[in-house]
């Protein structure tokens, strides 16, 4: 019943997308808003709530992620309403976009809520494949090429994840039988897995697949290229929603791997993420346009989330995740306005807004820009504080205190490079360049206000309490 409620808006959207009607555009947007309602209902239910036997189970972690994703989805839909004012987009492409957006939602709901590695993978693959076509709704040769690139990179990453899943399944099958694909059972029996080497190898392969999908170390640039080539709502979808499905998988797998062998997991992931942040910080320093800047900073924040999670600070990771999921799509959506007069222009992007709407817009964008580099009122500030604190306190129990302090200092240096770059970009946006008049449409402003309100809601004591109770 709950499953039908969750899927109904998406299915409705899928069907409506075949109508060739002028009004269908608003109907599609409406159906996208409706997705939030069953998720709020789900959020209020007692956890864990079995949606479909043991296959789909709603617990605190995944309802939180799903709620965040659906809010991002609404913001993206709001921005889509006025997409054609900024860029050329045909009504047919708009309908196609919504058709694949519906499939994307179905895949996403399955993968986030799943308690079963197989179903998680099926949902992830469905979501990945549907985003491939969304990139191509921008009819440019660059988008065409990047859609192919994404198809291939995504296929490799997703196949690696499945390969890892099968290996993990094989390692636990002797004790659990066919149920060895369920996350909760695996977590309970993690210590009894007869062949930990097999499990760890499976985990490593699956993790590499997920890291490729999040744009980590050897594959840093594909995400930036794709987000540059596609429309900005697609980029917002990537950074806000698809990444969250991947990161949920990582949370669940690593929970089991922590039980199997914490040290191996920690060293593997920690080195991987430090390398990623090292490279990404210099790439950010060289970034010349908004899209690349934001997508690279997205990679950096994903690396931070993963790092906090494995170093024993799930609260920090979840808070950071929520903050990033709201901030980054907001910034991506605002690039639509910032870049609307002449692409790639950073200097003077924050000038030339008239009227009340314009003022609110540039005020919000500058707030978001300063929040993403974790200036104090932002939730990211607190999550990073918690996260680094947790790293130090984890290291206290082992003999590697000095190495950990060194690593944290190194990380802080890298983060300060990114901080410097963002501040200088902000200054150049505000104080350099020529003033050109830019138009802000109400729907975009609504989206930004929605994200701002969600960010404030994230800082409420109740939310923080909820996040602390997740693990």
């Amino acid at each position: 019943m709950m499953l039908a409620l969750l899927l109904a808006p998406a299915l409705f959207m899928f069907l409506v997308s075949f109508l060739h009607n002028e009004k269908s555009k608003y109907l599609l947007a409406f159906s996208s808003f409706v997705i939030l309602l069953p998720i709020i209902k789900l959020f209020t239910l007692v956890k864990p709530y079995a949606i479909l036997g043991t296959y789909l189970v709603a617990d605190k972690l995944d309802t939180y992620v799903l709620l965040v994703s659906s809010i991002v989805g609404i913001g993206v839909t709001l921005a889509l309403l006025t997409l054609d004012k900024h860029v050329k987009v045909s009504p047919k492409a708009n309908r196609r976009f919504y058709r694949f957006f519906a499939i994307f939602w179905i895949g996403l709901i399955f993968s986030i809520l799943s308690n079963h590695m197989g179903i998680y993978w099926i949902g992830l693959e469905l979501a990945t494949l549907s985003t491939v076509y969304m990139i191509k709704t921008n009819y440019t040769p660059a988008a065409h090429k990047e859609a192919w690139n994404y198809m291939i990179v995504g296929a490799i990453a997703v196949s690696l994840i499945l390969f890892g899943i099968i290996l993990m399944y094989a390692s636990a099958k002797p004790i659990l039988g066919e149920d060895a694909m369920q996350f909760d059972l695996l977590l309970q029996h993690a210590k009894e897995i007869p062949s930990p080497f097999l499990f760890e190898m499976g985990f490593a392969i699956a993790t590499i697949g997920m890291f490729i999908k999040m744009g980590f170390f050897p594959m840093n640039l594909w995400l930036a290229n794709i987000e540059r080539a596609s429309f900005y709502p697609v980029a917002a979808l990537f950074s806000g929603i698809l990444e969250s499905a991947v990161v949920v998988g990582f949370f669940r797998f690593s929970q089991i791997a922590m039980e199997v062998n914490y040290d191996h997991l920690f060293i593997f992931v920690f080195i991987y993420t430090i390398l990623t942040i090292f490279i990404v910080s210099f790439l950010i320093f060289r970034a010349k346009d908004f899209m690349r800047l934001f997508s690279l900073s997205g990679v950096e924040h994903m690396a931070l989330i993963v790092m906090f999670w494995v170093s024993g600070a799930p609260f920090a990771a979840l808070l950071h995740f929520g903050a990033h999921a709201f901030l980054k799509p907001a910034l991506f959506l605002s690039t639509g306005v910032l870049e609307s007069n002449g692409k790639y222009k950073i200097a003077g992007a924050l000038r030339g807004y008239k009227g009340k709407r314009g003022t609110i817009f540039w005020f919000l964008v500058s707030l978001f820009l300063l929040a993403i580099i974790s200036l104090p009122p932002s939730p990211m500030f607190f999550s990073e504080l918690y996260g680094f604190g947790a790293m130090i306190s984890t290291a206290k129990e082992s003999d590697h205190m000095l190495a950990m302090i060194g690593a944290v200092l190194f990380l802080l240096i890298l983060l300060s490079i990114i901080f410097y770059r963002f501040v200088s970009i902000y200054q150049s946006m505000k104080y350099e360049g020529e003033t050109e008049s830019k138009e802000v449409y109400p729907s975009e402003l609504f989206a930004l206000i929605l994200f701002a309100l969600s960010l404030v809601a994230l800082m409420l004591p109740d939310t923080l309490h909820y996040l602390k109770s997740v693990i």
Binding site: S90, G118, I119, E125, Y133, I152, I166, A170
Partner: protein, 197 residues
């Protein structure tokens, strides 16, 4: 018999690595899938698993017949480049392929000590995973890359069939569904003429 089929699987993959013609590559892919399907049927009848038999039949129908046929049609419709020369020269490939095989065989040696049934098959499926990644890497055209992706899928299935004696039925059907979805998306991606809209 199972050993023989697995050997055939790996052999068709290696031959595919050295192929320079698109249709020949499709033939090898189809042979690869056919051996996979036969493998599923053999193992399924050995352990009396109906789900595995269904998987085998679907594999043969979809992967060995359907997908090569669709891809051939697509290639005629969109005029693919049919002469596909690998970027990696043959003399390097000759060294690279055995190196990959030796590496993966030794990588999975600890597994051989852990699982007692079908431990070798894990090694062979990991090496076929790497070989299909190599197949994707060594071509710059799109069509062989798609075939590389499909063989990647095949090697996943090989692992699923041999290492775990079949995944749950639901998952296998889901994977087939996703594969069909991938084919649909690939088909849509080839429609270049829509760029004018």
């Amino acid at each position: 018999m199972v050993d023989f089929l697995i050997g055939l699987f790996l052999a068709s993959l290696i031959v595919a690595l050295f192929t320079t013609r698109l249709y020949r590559l499709l033939l090898w892919y189809s042979l690869n899938s056919l051996t996979l399907g036969l493998l599923a049927l053999t193992i399924g009848s050995n352990i009396d698993d109906d789900g595995m038999l269904v998987t085998g039949v679907i594999t043969i129908l979809i992967k060995a017949v359907g997908i090569p046929y669709i891809l051939k049609n697509l290639s005629q419709k969109f005029h693919f480049v049919r002469q596909i020369t690998p970027e990696i020269k043959v003399q390097y490939a000759i060294m690279l392929v055995p190196a990959i095989l030796v590496f993966t065989f030794y990588l999975s040696e600890p597994i051989v000590n852990m699982i007692h049934t079908n431990a070798n098959y894990v090694a062979i499926s990991i090496s076929s995973l790497f070989l299909s990644l190599l197949l994707m890497m060594e071509h710059s055209n799109v069509a062989p890359k798609i075939i590389g992706f499909l063989t990647l899928e095949n090697s996943l299935f090989l692992l699923g069939i041999t290492a775990t004696n079949g995944m749950p039925m639901l998952v296998e059907l889901g994977i087939f569904f996703d594969l069909l979805m991938a084919i649909v998306v690939i088909n849509l991606l080839f429609h270049k003429e829509e760029m004018k809209v």
